[in-house]
Subunit: 554 residues, 2 copies
Amino acid sequence: MTTTVIIGGVAGGMSTAARLRRRDEDMEIIVFEASENVSFANCGLPYYVSRTIESRDALLLQTPASLKARLNLDVFVSHRVTAIDPAAKNVTVRNEVTGEERTRDYDFLVLSPGATPFLPPIPGIERALTLRTVEDVDVISEAVRADGVASAAIIGGGFIGLELAENLHKMGIATTIVERSPQILAPLDEEMAVLVQDRLEAAGVKVLTRADTKKISDSSLEVVLDDGSSVTVDADIVVAAIGVRPASELAKAAGLAVGERGGIKVDRAQRTSNPAIFALGDAAEKVDAVSGEDSLVPLAQTANRHGRMVADIITGRDCQAQLTLGTAIVGVLGLAAGSVGWNERRARAAGKNIRVIHVHPVNHAGYYPGATQLHLKLVVDAKTDAILGAQAVGENGVDKRIDVIATAMRAGLKGSDLADLELAYAPQFGSAKDPINFLGFVDDNALNGEELVQWHQLEDLVARDNTVLIDVRSAGEYARGDIPGSINVDVDELRDWLNDGGRQQLEGKDVIVHCQVGLRGHIAAAILAGYGIKAANLTGGYLTWAAGMRARKP
Amino acid sequence: MTTTVIIGGVAGGMSTAARLRRRDEDMEIIVFEASENVSFANCGLPYYVSRTIESRDALLLQTPASLKARLNLDVFVSHRVTAIDPAAKNVTVRNEVTGEERTRDYDFLVLSPGATPFLPPIPGIERALTLRTVEDVDVISEAVRADGVASAAIIGGGFIGLELAENLHKMGIATTIVERSPQILAPLDEEMAVLVQDRLEAAGVKVLTRADTKKISDSSLEVVLDDGSSVTVDADIVVAAIGVRPASELAKAAGLAVGERGGIKVDRAQRTSNPAIFALGDAAEKVDAVSGEDSLVPLAQTANRHGRMVADIITGRDCQAQLTLGTAIVGVLGLAAGSVGWNERRARAAGKNIRVIHVHPVNHAGYYPGATQLHLKLVVDAKTDAILGAQAVGENGVDKRIDVIATAMRAGLKGSDLADLELAYAPQFGSAKDPINFLGFVDDNALNGEELVQWHQLEDLVARDNTVLIDVRSAGEYARGDIPGSINVDVDELRDWLNDGGRQQLEGKDVIVHCQVGLRGHIAAAILAGYGIKAANLTGGYLTWAAGMRARKP
């Protein structure tokens, strides 16, 4: 009889185990999980803190008993594997309750131990709670309900930090997010992330960016901002949600290859440097779909998909892991923020020649009640038009647009192909021209010669003597806020203005147009082209520019 | 100067006009619209009847004046083109207000006159209202608010019929849908459409299928059911929403080629048989993406996309229309029903060798509050695994899944590729294994040998002496409703049962397993395979079977 031992009984490990059984009724399948629970709803933990998820049982999707009954799996919780002997093909496992140790032989070994929260070496860090397991959420749940708890500081403005902030805020706890980098939500670019920060701040959650936590005291944090000033943040509770590190120590100790970023090295079949040992989930390296390079992407759904595949391979099927897009989403205070692939920051840092598009349409037909604004960003290769990545922020429809683009990326569609996707339209669900189509329209226009300017390029461009920046919004919009250096000519009066001497005024100049979101700017650029004047359009318009300015304000 | 004349100023025509101007500042662009409004929100009309869309102005997206100011278009409403002279390259147009006629020369002519509601030759049909224009909605709005109006009959259970039913029902009007065919919502298969019918009936909307309207009287309809019985339907208001016919008379009279179904024939550049004349929108034929055959697909978003393309071609760009998937969605009483590509009925009628998959997962993580059930159906080519079509019904997340599959179809992904799409997951938005992934898992398993049985094949199969149908749900589920001829063995007790003599009982038999939705059935089939017993699984389980039975009940 073949024996497969699986280390880790959550997303990746449990997917492997369940699929193995469905593929092989006779295999011995043993799962060792170091924590007290298997198959728990990792991504639901923050919502149990505030009891948005009311029942703790709802987090526990399976138990060793239910897994035995249905799938004949031998699942051991509170069992920590302490050593792997690849030569002898066995593992040493310790019962965390009794302290008892034993070895267990395997034919195949699957490593899915996950990751551990990163704790920076700050004085007082021992006060910081982390959130990774059901045990962790029990600790946090009790801590936030203790007498006199009125404030919380969350170190780290990533997905889990934001989810926790929402839940603590919902409980009436004064919450501050302390983020060391210039923005929250690293997968997004700054002018997109600031839209989420706006929402947090509007709700009363404090957000400090470029903020370095120097010390954790009894009921506060000492934080230094990048101007050198110090801030004291009230913090009856401190949670560290800075990120995770792959739990690869065991693999390393067993002599398995580990990558530069600390993830267990695997091939496209999730095989480690030892052919009988597989690794997957947060502990293993992934291959980035855009660059083909190794990366770490600690996401549950990737772990689940890879688990299924590892089971297929162990049971004799020949298959390969898909490259990883890093598709992700987070909900915060009624807003959703999603991303797939690379952002602009990463693409520029890698020296890629890119085209970047911002649009801000409503999520469904504007004439139907309840439409809300979407903010979409697309990054494509300037020459090949390959989609490198996308981001979306909005109250509704973010997940749909990210999923459509993730599907398009997987299938190799180009940016301009988005123009002609045939998406479902009824007034409650979309528009005759879906926001996705709009991204494609703008990309198609740019691919065919329309010049786009980015919000972060504007200051330099406008500073040049030869540049004219025309704001083609209405006089009323202009009065409510304008970009320094712009002149105002309403798009509906642009032809008259050009005929009335404006044309001469623009001769020999570098002309940039902008409106509120980009559409009227596009029309204005087309009108100007008809007058022989080449004009660039500020993509995303005033809205994106203003967001960028907020993101960069000191 | 080049002149383009456009007949029809709604979706297709107005998209053409706007794009033409953005591509050519100098072209003369003339739009003749027979109704009193251009660029109105066609798909919003049903919602104005109940004032869900409160303001009539919200339906009127543009006016001739606004289009003149921004795009320098010459738009004439209440102007009906009465003749085209392709040799002289002119049209004759009548001002519907003054009765005045004139001719107008063109270099390019674009036909986007839309379609006209079909009115069957029934006695009293002159009482039936239709819904296509703003004028129509004004008439219906007034009619439903007249004193003493308490009941309405809608002839036709398609998209517009259902949307109207929702809105009339919302106003407290006793509403009956009278549909001649065996089911409402022709794009769906019967067992999917019945889920929508369930919702209508639960809300108190009457639905008569296989119901032929024989006569419309003063305040009722006389309807004959397929058992020959007659029913009188109260109908202070009668609306005919049976479907539309392409408005191709003008094209036909001008000698342009018209297809068998009455649509104007066009090539992949939307060119009619006359190279200076283009046609698009509901009046023109489309090319079906699955079969490559001519079809009629009267959908706003196709018209919009083709409008953009026609403008590109007229202004010198070389491009081709994408094949049409017919992606569509409708919202009814909190439920959404969507489809893309072909349904099972159509595929079987065309003699295709298909594989059909039903799944019924929740729209997002079940542990997060508010998850609702989705019903998804996938039709793939049994051999090539090409996706032929998909359907979805549910309260939430229907549009997203249909759009993802529409994107996958456009890009040529296979059914089993859906297993590995990397979609955005957070508990409010999806699951670590998204419903789309589930479709792919089931397809992948079936592609690799797992046999699936369809609900409509079950009766014949069970009638055979040699078949054993095992319901692997719990005893409690079985007691609440079972499939005739099934025996009950809980999946969690299946191994014991097999070891206890069950194995011998099944030897040499054709075994079919089923559960509630298909997942436990899949596990049971895997267990049986381990015991050397090949078993087929009822896809979609009891839920799909029961829906099919409801759909077919006399």
